[in-house]
């Protein structure tokens, strides 16, 4: 399995075969604060990169989460519908949000590495 990649929208993306697992970064969950609900997308949904895919409701605000890549939603983390605070507790593992079957690996390769993301955060 490849190293995680990152987006400017503060998502992490992990490639396994032709499918990526997507979640939000620890930085993102910290700035959102207590997360209470998540409006998960339907499995089978076709999306383009940077398209709004779902909404996370934290105590402070509703935040759109964008698809990092073109693809089709193949799986969602149903545990989050009952307890969205899992994202606060473990955003980079147990708090994964959805899986996406991708068709364009160039798009994936152009995402940021961890090192680049950390530099991006410092800006």
């Amino acid at each position: 399995m490849a190293e995680k990649k990152y987006t400017e929208e503060h998502e992490w993306v992990k490639l396994d075969g032709d499918t990526v697992t997507v979640g939000i970064t620890n930085h993102a969950q910290e700035s959102l604060g207590d997360i209470v609900f998540i409006d998960l997308p339907a499995v089978g949904k076709q999306v383009k990169a940077k398209e709004e895919l779902l909404v996370i409701e934290s105590v402070k605000a509703a935040s759109d989460i964008y698809s990092p890549l073109d693809g089709e939603v193949t799986e969602i983390n149903d545990n989050l519908s009952n307890d969205a605070s899992i994202i606060n507790q473990d955003s980079e593992n147990e708090g994964w949000i959805f899986k996406l079957k991708i068709c364009n690996s160039d798009q994936y390769n152009s995402l940021m590495s961890l090192e680049q993301y950390l530099k991006f955060l410092e800006k």
């Binding site: 604060g33 207590d34 209470v36 609900f37 409006d39 909404v55 409701e57 105590v59 402070k60 509703a62 519908s81 606060n88």
Partner: protein, 370 residues
């Protein structure tokens, strides 16, 4: 507004050391929450003790001369000669249309044998109110050298009593002047959470010492404006800028209980002719409590619609209630709307069904006298 332009409260560094996250609020750089997060802070206040630094709020001492009383009574609907001393009164600064320029807590207190009106007002309204005070009253003192600390929750009495030795007769909305470290603390049994609690006006230099003593010896945590907001919504309390503003009068806002009815007949009150008519007329809108059927969060400014998708009102405040574990909100609706039909809010292009709830959402827990 840039961060440089924001004002800081006196204990900013103390809060930073306690892992406060700051937001810009009404011109101030204010803690929104600390390391436990908004939900945990909220629950802690309902079960134990929470400490809020609300020093951004305005505090003023006004000597109660006849001239000042007459000026204050021209825009405050209280009978200042006859209100009880050592008691906090919730009231308003009104404009000539009866619109609410601010909601205030006013207490008549004695300092060095002189009577003063001690008023706490909203930070977002400081500029407007200070202009009014400057124009109309004399020899007042805008308090800049004192913090305002709210200590809230069912264990707040024992937390404070072990340090300040409160009089046993002190009940909800009583205010006392108590010595601490050669300082006089103005302490009222009040707050904004629906819980038993106290608000303390205390010299800047003594505040840290008092907070440390309370934090070290009690199950108390620092809490920010985030939990203060969800606590006040659960308690059904109005917030200036949300439920009330210059375009609503106290009667429309369901706050006529706070008006001295005799003052509505007094021509010295700038809006007595308008409010005295308004109080007898049937209100067109009413304040309601709401919750959604689905897992969404009600937030201010969402519109409320009927079955025909016609707008019948709007949400003034909404939040996630950590106690009820669902979203709650308050709003205004047209009084003549048919409430036997379903009602909705418009959220992200979807119509989400909402239902009426009783206000307050969570039972208030004040220490009332026998």
């Amino acid at each position: 507004m840039t961060e440089e332009a924001l004002q800081n409260i006196y204990l900013k560094d103390f809060h930073k050391k306690h892992y406060a996250k700051f937001i810009s609020f009404a011109g101030y750089n204010m803690p929104i929450n600390y390391k436990h997060g908004i939900i945990n802070e909220h629950i802690h206040v309902r079960n134990h003790t929470g400490i809020f630094d609300v020093s951004h709020m305005g505090q003023i001492l006004i000597p109660l001369s006849n001239e000042n009383i007459s000026a204050l009574e021209s825009y405050i609907p209280l009978d200042l000669q006859n209100i009880k001393s050592n008691k906090c009164h919730y009231s308003f600064i009104l404009n000539s249309n009866g619109g609410i320029l601010d909601d205030i807590m006013l207490s008549k207190i004695k300092l060095e044998n002189k009577e003063f009106a001690y008023i706490i007002y909203n930070s977002s309204r400081k500029k407007i109110l200070n202009e009014i005070f400057n124009k109309t009253i004399s020899k007042f003192k805008i308090i800049e050298d004192r913090c305002l600390i709210a200590i809230q929750g069912p264990e707040s009495f024992s937390a404070i009593n072990s340090i300040l030795n409160l009089p046993s007769s002190m009940n909800f909305l009583n205010i006392e002047i108590i010595k601490f470290n050669n300082d006089l603390i103005y302490i009222s049994r009040s707050g904004y959470t629906g819980e038993d609690g106290f608000e303390l006006s205390i010299s800047n230099i003594n505040t840290k010492k008092l907070l440390r003593e309370i934090l070290d010896n009690n199950n108390a945590i620092l809490c920010g404006l985030g939990s203060r907001d969800s606590l006040r919504i659960e308690a059904g309390l109005s917030l200036y800028g949300n439920e009330i503003n210059e375009d609503t009068n106290p009667i429309q806002a369901g706050l006529s209980w706070a008006l001295d009815k005799n003052r509505l007949k007094d021509n010295n009150l700038n809006c007595s002719n308008i409010l005295s008519k308004e109080i007898d007329s049937i209100q067109k809108v009413k304040k309601i409590g709401l919750s959604p059927i689905n897992k969404i969060i009600l937030r201010s400014n969402m519109t409320i619609k009927n079955v025909e998708k016609k707008e019948i009102g709007f949400i003034t405040s909404g939040c996630y209630s950590p106690i009820l574990k669902k979203s709650i909100g308050m709003g205004y609706i047209n009084k003549f709307s048919d409430m036997s039909e379903k009602i909705y809010v418009n959220v992200r292009d979807k119509y989400e069904e909402i239902k009426l709830e009783k206000i307050p959402f969570v039972k208030k827990n004040y220490k009332k006298g026998d």
